[in-house]
């Protein structure tokens, strides 16, 4: 796609805003629609767009497959880890109230952390799935 200059320049302008919008959706999830699932997909869409326009090889240099595979597992670990931390602090599994002095603040911290875990997993899985599908050549018959 080296000759499609409008596509390349257009994507270059769009991608930062897509990533920024994903972060907005993530951190505004407490106040409006959105949250980790949507933000993860939008964040992944930024990298998918990059891979579609600039090629899979360049995308894998920016975001190596090993990193996205690790992200897929890391998010679940963050989520479950928050659960174990609350257990260690004397609460029950995923009871965020014990994370801070004021239970309401604890709930805030807990929700932020688990939503971040969801973001990391969804982002990692979506980009990995795209790499897995796009990285294969057509089977000649």
């Amino acid at each position: 796609m080296d000759d499609r200059i409008i596509l390349r320049v257009g994507a270059k302008i769009l991608i930062p805003y897509i990533l920024l919008f994903a972060l907005y959706v993530q951190f505004h999830g407490d106040y409006g629609p959105g949250g980790g699932f949507q933000a993860g997909v939008i964040f992944a869409a930024g990298f998918v767009l990059y891979a579609l326009v600039y090629g899979l090889g360049n995308a894998k240099k920016v975001m190596p497959p090993a990193v996205v595979h690790t992200c897929g597992a890391l998010g679940v670990m963050i989520f479950a880890g928050v659960g174990f931390v609350t257990m260690g602090l004397g609460g029950v599994f995923l009871d965020y109230g014990v994370l801070a002095h004021d239970p309401e603040h604890g709930q805030h911290y807990g929700i932020l952390l688990v939503e971040f875990g969801v973001l990391v997993t969804v982002f990692g899985v979506m980009v990995s799935l795209f790499y897995a599908f796009a990285g294969r050549r057509r089977v000649e018959t």
Binding site: G32, Q107, G110, I111, G117, V118, R136, R137, R138
Partner: protein, 205 residues
Amino acid sequence: MVAITQITLLALLAVSAIALLRIRNLFAVVMLGGIYSLVSAALFTSLDAVDVAFTEAAVGAGISTVLLLGTLALVGHEAKPRVRRPLLPLFVVMVTGGVLVYGTLDMPPFGDPANPAHHHVAPRYIEESPHEIGIPNMVTSVLASYRGYDTMGETTVIFTALVAVLLLIGMGPNPRQVSWKSRGSAEPGAGPEDREDEPTEEAHG
């Protein structure tokens, strides 16, 4: 006005579903699938389920379409013509649909405040979550805190999907999938790292 919008959107859904069934060109099918998702996202928005609509638009219309297009690049974009007349499947679908419609006759009216769904745990969430969790978006409170265990399960399901896909279609190109003819010829798409994979694959097999 809301009713007209919803009926129009439902009609659009039905039209795109029928078109999906009739079209043989899989490229058009994938695109129509994306349109179907967008229309259902609009429908969810008109039903005040903005979080669901957001997810539907991002996942259904966005990522799924890209993944299906990636699949089409591998399998070609023309469906095989069907030879048999699917009478038995049609019968099964009609009977199931009829039973489902019969089931809806017993359901409480849509949007009625006296519905059982509004008297189970919903009042507690609405009354307690502003000072128990303290964040304005109640959907997030329910999703991440009251139902945090479920959400952890959902995250694990997504992770499991990753593991399944990686096990099934592997980490990138699998040299064994390429037939002997294209393997022998010098293929422009085959990068140096693809060739390096071959000895390790054969050592495993």
